[in-house]
């Protein structure tokens, strides 16, 4: 599974980025370069999939893929799939499993959602068994608080809650393969049943630990998608979504910039009052343009200028900033070009 993701990334990057870009993407680096790459090359789904991924581990994996003849990496560190790699990707992604990853979309709450669910299951199964002495599997304060409140609400209908979660999970897991469902259930902790660590799962299912890692994310993203879109089908799983989908932007700092823009501040004024560099504020604005479909960039680039740039981009068939800038005789700043690219992507998506 992990190699599928790498292959897909390399395909979409069209040799325009080094493999480091993939590493930053997977670990969810909050730089505007990485965010922009993610959008430009339709890789948002993989953003931040394995936050804890070590560079060394990543490199080892790349080497293994090279050795297996799936990819090649040139001297500049730019990678691309071999013919064998392309075939491998096509045969293994027939049911479009890779589309299930929603890294950037869910990045703010996937983790909290899963912690809530895991802790809830641990808590209610222990309570049902009338066991009080269990050690919480997470120290996350937000998750603990939420479980406490929910439990208080349901303490007199505990059986209903336990059965409800069970049925929702069963219905959802039935849509997965047996192996995926097993991975998920083995990882759960409950009364006198402690979940397996990722390494234990890897040993038991004879998989690489990175594969385990991404399969688990895959399953959680799928639960999220299902429970967001079919709330009625999963009334109990949906409980764990409560109040966690309100934030939209990747960086909190961008949210502040966004609010100030809405209140009529200029870029200069924001930078001055927040004591940040102009560049940083510009990064925020590009990020906002990606995230908010209703954000207008007219204040920064006029309508006609936008058209001019889009034409050039189409002509060049590339998203490379430098090429675009030169083509347009340096008439526009990088900031303006990035902004148009950001906006363009959304318009494109919107007209489909």
């Amino acid at each position: 599974m992990f190699s599928l993701i790498i292959l897909d990334c390399l395909m979409k990057l069209r040799k325009e980025r080094t493999i480091s870009a993939i590493y930053h993407l997977l670990t969810g680096k909050r730089s505007s370069q990485t965010l922009q790459d993610a959008h430009m090359y339709q890789l948002t789904g993989y953003f931040g999939l394995i936050k804890s991924l070590q560079r060394k581990e990543f490199n080892k994996c790349m080497e293994r893929m090279v050795k297996n003849g799936l990819i090649s990496i040139d001297n500049d560190g730019v990678g691309f799939p071999t013919k064998k790699g392309e075939d491998y990707l096509i045969t293994n992604n027939q049911s479009n499993i890779l589309e299930e990853f929603k890294g950037m979309e869910y990045e703010k709450f996937a983790e909290l959602f899963s912690l809530r669910l895991l802790l809830l299951i641990q808590t209610i199964t222990n309570k049902k068994a009338e066991s009080t002495g269990f050690i919480a599997l997470t120290d996350d304060k937000q998750a603990q608080l939420w479980v406490k409140q929910l439990y208080r609400k349901y303490r007199h209908e505990l059986d209903q809650l336990v059965t409800g979660i069970y049925h929702d999970l069963h219905a959802f897991l039935s849509k997965l393969t047996d192996q995926q469902a097993s991975l998920f259930v083995e990882r759960l902790t409950g009364y006198e049943k402690i979940g397996l660590s990722k390494l234990q799962l890897a040993n038991k299912y004879k998989m690489n630990i990175l594969d385990i890692e991404v399969w688990l994310v895959y399953i959680y993203h799928k639960i999220l998608t299902e429970s967001i879109h079919e709330k009625d089908k999963y009334p109990y799983l949906t409980l764990a979504l409560e109040g966690i989908m309100d934030q939209t932007f990747v960086t909190n700092s961008a949210t502040v910039t966004y609010n100030m823009l809405q209140n009529g501040f200029t870029i200069d004024a924001i930078a001055r009052s927040r004591r940040l560099k102009l560049n940083t504020i510009e990064d925020h604005i590009v990020e906002i343009a990606y995230m908010d479909p209703y954000f207008t960039i007219g204040n920064f680039v006029g309508e006609a200028e936008q058209k001019e740039m889009l034409k050039a981009i189409e002509l060049l068939q590339t998203n490379r900033l430098k090429l675009i800038k030169t083509k347009l005789n340096d008439k526009f700043s990088y900031f303006q070009i990035r902004l148009v690219l950001a906006k363009h992507r959304l318009e494109d998506k919107g007209s489909m």
Partner: protein, 515 residues
């Protein structure tokens, strides 16, 4: 107080009687007396301050050497419903620490590392609280002659004064009479009431098995585990070894559930593995000493030492994980002629070399001469390749010799500097020698022909009790006569639907349970 201590014991812990030594210590502590408590591993020393913490008004401060140990204990207390307990350590981030600082008055029990107690801001907060008891757990760490060198342990007496001289309780399971004296002296607490109990464990048999070379050790263990499928801990001296051994043993004894545990693992994985072991979901743990102090699983039947620790005290601590329910348990030490190699290496790396010290002093002189009076500790550590223990040791020495005051360098004459370098060199040599001597004690114990329990515990107490079950390999131990209860493995299905059902008490499984 008008209720009996037994009333509180029952109310807060559910136990219905005190174990040896507990009641006397608790009574003294509640009367405001300072105590030294020496009790065997697993005897219930924690209760001696946890119960007072609940009964007394004010805050109980516990100094504990290992972060994982503190975190475990607080988790355990919370699980038992004691919410006013917290562990303060370097793992907490800034805001979390601030939160605890500002709400100190809402806690009744706070665990801290000795290093935390050097934080001036925290001390200032502590001074504002009424401290009802100051506890030093694993108190042998204080002693110069004890476990490892932790300079901040030596400053505890000043801390105690600083926070208003509360009563002090020092606890240990491995302190020779010399160390006991040293603890009292270091804490500056001559009036301490001593509660010294024999610390030998009469339900543990000691076995040393000599094998030709390391590679036979795992074979021996595998064969043993074939016949005795009991909860087992195997100690190694390196993280890498725990991982490799777990993998090899898994192929040799496939029907056993085997995992490894060491300090380099992710926090969540550590909790999972530890909990699985506690919950009898794992049979064998290959671990470093990070899985040691404070681990409190009742039915560990077999503790194996694949590698040696560096001294008898650590050995006793690790052995002490076995048989905490009082049943017949075994410690097996695997020995060969290279026993001392790894511990020796460890000892070497704990102290800086002469060369390192001289270079550091030159560098510091440079700094002072160029009017640069602050030290970038991480820079120094990388530049001179100090590990944490080495740097901690040196920094303390620089403080003692007046070269650092309040974290700033002090100008000194070059003749003074020479004298100091010389002093530190001598001290390093002395400590190395001492540590090697302690290692030799352990090695000698292995080769001694006498009764193992007697030889092991006599330095700590006047008399060693007779063994409750088998004694040791020199008194005729044989595995054939050891009949530990085999824990029943729950049969679990590998089918996800079955697993899910039983987790949620659904379907057949549930009906069987309730009918």
């Amino acid at each position: 107080m008008n209720k009996t201590l037994e009333y509180y014991l029952e109310k807060y812990t559910g136990h219905n009687e005190f174990r040896t030594g507990q009641k006397e210590i608790i009574t003294d502590v509640l009367e405001g007396k300072s105590c030294l408590g020496i009790l065997p591993t697993g005897s219930g020393k924690s209760l001696c301050y946890q119960l007072p913490a609940r009964v007394l008004n004010g805050l109980v401060v516990v100094v504990s050497p290992l972060i994982s140990l503190m975190i475990d204990q607080v988790k355990q207390l919370k699980a038992e419903g004691f919410r006013e307990a917290v562990a303060l350590n370097s793992f907490l981030d800034y805001t979390e620490k601030q939160q605890v600082y500002h709400n100190l008055d809402q806690y009744k029990l706070v665990y801290v590392s000795p290093e935390m107690l050097q934080n001036p801001y925290f001390l200032q907060r502590l001074r504002k609280q009424s401290i009802s008891l100051f506890v030093v757990d694993e108190a042998h760490c204080i002693s110069q002659w004890g476990h490892e060198f932790r300079p901040d342990y030596l400053k505890l007496d000043t801390v105690i004064q600083d926070i208003g001289n509360p009563p002090v309780l020092a606890l240990s399971a491995t302190a020779t009479p010399d160390v006991q004296k040293d603890i009292i002296k270091q804490l500056n607490c001559e009036q301490m009431v001593k509660h010294i109990h024999p610390m030998d464990r009469d339900n543990i048999a000691f076995v040393v098995k000599t094998v030709e070379s390391d590679k036979y050790k795992l074979d021996y263990i595998a064969a043993l585990l074939h016949s005795y499928q009991v909860p087992t801990m195997i100690y190694f001296s390196s993280r890498k070894w725990t991982e490799q051994a777990a993998e090899i043993l898994r192929t040799h004894v496939p029907n056993l559930r085997i995992a490894f545990y060491h300090g380099g693992m992710e926090q969540t994985d550590r909790i999972l593995i530890q909990q699985q072991f506690m919950n009898d979901q794992l049979d064998v743990i290959c671990c470093t000493s990070a899985f040691g102090m404070g681990i409190n699983k009742k039915n560990v039947r077999l503790v194996v030492h694949y590698h040696l620790p560096t001294q008898v005290e650590s050995f006793i601590q690790e052995v002490g994980r076995a048989g905490r329910d009082g049943e017949a348990s075994v410690n097996l030490l695997l020995s060969n002629e290279n026993d001392q190699l790894l511990p020796k290496q460890l000892i070497e790396t704990e102290l800086p070399t002469h060369g390192q010290i001289t270079m550091l002093m030159d560098y510091l002189r440079h700094l002072v001469e160029s009017k640069e009076l602050t030290i970038d500790e991480s820079l120094v550590s990388t530049q001179f390749q100090f590990n944490e223990t080495q740097w901690r040791f040196l920094k303390y020495q620089l403080e003692v010799h007046g070269m650092i005051k309040e974290d700033r360098l002090v100008q000194i004459s070059s003749s003074d500097r020479k004298a100091i370098v010389n002093d530190i060199h001598l001290l390093v040599d002395k400590r190395k020698k001492l540590k090697l001597a302690k290692l030799t004690d352990l090695i000698n114990w292995i080769h001694d022909k006498g009764c193992r329990r007697e030889r092991l515990f006599l330095p700590f107490q006047e008399q060693v009790r007779p063994a409750k079950f088998q004694c040791c390999d020199h008194c005729g131990f044989s595995f054939e006569e050891w009949n530990p209860t085999i824990t029943n493995k729950r049969i679990t299905s590998d089918n996800w639907e079955d697993m899910l059902q039983s987790l949620f008490f659904q379907g057949e499984h549930h009906e069987k349970q309730t009918s």
